[in-house]
């Protein structure tokens, strides 16, 4: 059944169109920055964008920051929201179930296919952004400007609040990229941290997917469940910025969405990353359980 769902996912034009569009945004941004050499000043605009003129290799991180707020959640909500509701509206759900496909199995297969989609999009954005960054913005020029390895730790580390003595991480300067904290990162470290960021963003998107999947078992409208999930995210975003709502903020789904940026600090600032993983895990478990409870007892009248 999982194989069937993957075939359906990858033979669907929508999958590839949304993928191309999501990858196109960072590409267009890179083209503009390359032509104008006008990156936003540090501390403003989307994360990492100020740094990419110096470090083309940091562009995957900048690209992820660009697509995270809107493009990714919209794409994920649409795919996950469509998963059950779309089959119901199209009439194929009843034919799958009498084949028979167990309802739990169908739900699991849908989840796997949504996860595959999320991973595919995030990886595609990373890879195309890396290529874009290296070819358009040029590989790291930081080696020349970068601080001497020893100087890395002290000052910038304070940004994260953990003034821990930076490990002698900044290895030989060759090809090093500067972290957000100013300390240089080797290419291997950069790859590791990008991997961590990908994992974090994927899990965050799975939180969105779980909400959309749950709504998808409630309604027969694919659009309704996608919009419902997005509405939940928008509401969360509003509350995250509202001081009066401080009490609930740690439990909001988007509260730690940007914590993956901490992977690019030196050393990695783990606190928010861990909380982010934790809260997303809770959302995934709760909403999947609700989706299962609803779907497995539901009368299929569509």
């Amino acid at each position: 059944m999982i194989r069937v769902e993957l075939v359906k996912l990858f033979r669907r034009p929508r999958t590839w169109i949304s993928l191309v569009l999501t990858c196109a945004l960072p590409f267009v941004v890179a083209v503009f920055i390359t032509i104008t050499h006008l990156a936003p000043p540090p501390g403003q605009g989307s994360a990492f964008l100020s740094a990419v003129l110096d470090d083309g290799e940091l562009y995957p991180a900048a690209a992820l920051a660009l697509v995270l707020p809107v493009f990714l959640p919209v794409a994920v909500a649409i795919v996950a929201g469509d998963s059950i509701a779309g089959e119901a509206a199209g009439g194929t759900l009843r034919y799958l179930l009498v084949r028979p496909v167990g309802r739990t199995r169908l739900l699991v297969a849908k989840l796997v296919s949504v996860t595959a989609y999320v991973l595919l999009v995030v990886l595609a954005v990373t890879v195309t952004a890396y290529a874009t960054g290296v070819f358009l913005l040029g590989p790291s020029r930081a080696a020349a400007v970068g601080q001497a390895p020893g100087a890395g730790g002290g000052v910038p580390g304070s940004v994260s609040g953990i003034a821990g003595a930076a490990p002698t991480a900044g290895q030989a300067a060759g090809g090093a990229v500067t972290s957000l904290s100013g300390a240089p990162l080797s290419l291997l470290q950069l790859a590791e941290r990008t991997g961590g960021a990908i994992a974090f963003i994927t899990v965050s998107m799975l939180g969105v997917a779980a909400i959309a999947l749950f709504l998808s078992t409630i309604t027969d409208s694919a659009l309704g469940s996608a919009m419902g999930a997005l509405a939940a995210l928008v509401a969360s975003e509003v509350l995250v910025t509202l001081n009066a709502a401080t009490v609930v903020q740690p439990y909001l789904p988007t509260r730690y969405w940007l914590a993956w940026i901490d992977f690019f600090r030196q050393p990695v600032f783990w606190r928010d990353i861990q909380r982010g993983f934790g809260i997303q895990a809770v959302y995934v478990v709760v909403f999947l359980a609700a989706a299962w409870a609803n779907f497995s007892t539901k009368d299929i009248t569509a």
Partner: protein
């Protein structure tokens, strides 16, 4: 093979099957009985509960109360064992519009159980099913370009790919042109002769009359009639006479004529040939004569009220 059980036991049996949606009772206390080898037609006006009943048999809708047994096993508890032996068409057919008909069937079949053994025979079974429903010649064009009739045929092919022992078809004639209806009838009769039990629901009485051996009639969720069609349509002990000399005939047969409808007379008499001789001897012309049988329509209308989509005034 362990499924050689169903010989004289029922293929579909329900006991006091009831389904309520909130305040609405869609199906009430239905005792359905479909025997092996039947071509069973479930009739009833729109909204009488046919689709809900079909969906309960297939485990899509859960009964509020009552029992269901299909192919000798309880549903929906044993859905995993029962459903692979059923081919189903539930309301409209459905397919993934951007894929071809064959791709759709292959995908549907791959979703079902069977693993490698099913995979090995898939291409052949899909080809056979397409051939059976008259889609053998279609190319790789996507289903979204299919006509309504082709979609219906594809839906039927989907029901046939696992070579089922029981076909459950909800309104199978929908969207088919007269040729399509005839093809469908011949296909179903052929399958039935090869041992497949057929259970179909329809509101088209002509379709059921020509195809089915046994009928059930649902009205407002109740099964108001269930019998063999031959028994229901047994001669009524009356003779139907068509004559251009109706007035004289009425005078001649004094008291035996039950009903007159223009040149058509319904006569209480035992033997059509004797009646014919009597009329002709009296110099009356007879254009048609034969034993009277009720049509299916008369039978059904006699036991059902108006359909649920008939919205009458508040009345007086």
């Amino acid at each position: 093979m362990s499924d050689a059980v169903v010989s004289d036991s029922g293929v579909i049996t329900t006991r006091a099957l009831t389904k309520r949606f909130g305040a609405v009772t869609a199906v009430r206390a239905v005792d359905l009985e479909v025997r092996a080898g039947d071509r069973y037609g479930l009739l009833g006006p729109n909204g009488s509960g046919k689709t809900t009943l079909v969906r309960m048999l297939l485990g899509l809708v859960y009964a509020t109360s009552g029992e269901i047994e299909v192919l000798g096993q309880r549903m929906p508890r044993h859905a995993r064992a029962v459903l692979p032996r059923i081919g189903a068409l539930i309301e409209e057919p459905a397919a993934y519009p951007h894929l071809s008909g064959r791709a759709n069937l292959a995908l549907l079949d791959a979703a079902g159980p069977g693993g490698r053994a099913a995979r090995r025979t898939r291409r052949r079974r899909v080809g056979e099913a397409m051939e059976q429903v008259g889609l053998g010649g279609v190319d790789r064009r996507p289903v979204k370009t299919y006509s309504l009739g082709m979609r219906q045929r594809l839906g039927l092919a989907g029901a046939l790919i696992r070579r089922p022992r029981l076909l459950v078809l909800d309104e199978p004639g929908n969207g088919l042109d007269p040729h399509g209806i005839r093809d469908l009838r011949e296909l179903l009769i052929g399958l039935n002769e090869a041992g497949v039990t057929i259970f179909l629901s329809s509101h088209l009485m002509a379709e059921v009359e020509q195809l089915c051996t046994r009928i059930g009639v649902l009205d407002a969720g109740r099964l108001v009639l269930q019998d063999d069609l031959a028994a229901l349509r047994a001669p009524t002990g009356r003779i139907l006479v068509e004559t251009p000399d109706a007035d004289q005939a009425v005078a001649l047969l004094d008291g035996q004529v039950e009903r007159r409808d223009g040149g058509q007379l319904l006569v209480r008499a035992a033997d059509a040939a004797a009646l014919n001789a009597r009329l002709v001897t009296a110099g009356l012309r007879v254009s048609a004569i034969g034993p009277h049988q009720r049509t299916l329509e008369e039978i059904v209308l006699a036991v059902t009220g108006t359909g649920s989509d008939h919205v009458g005034g508040s009345g007086s």
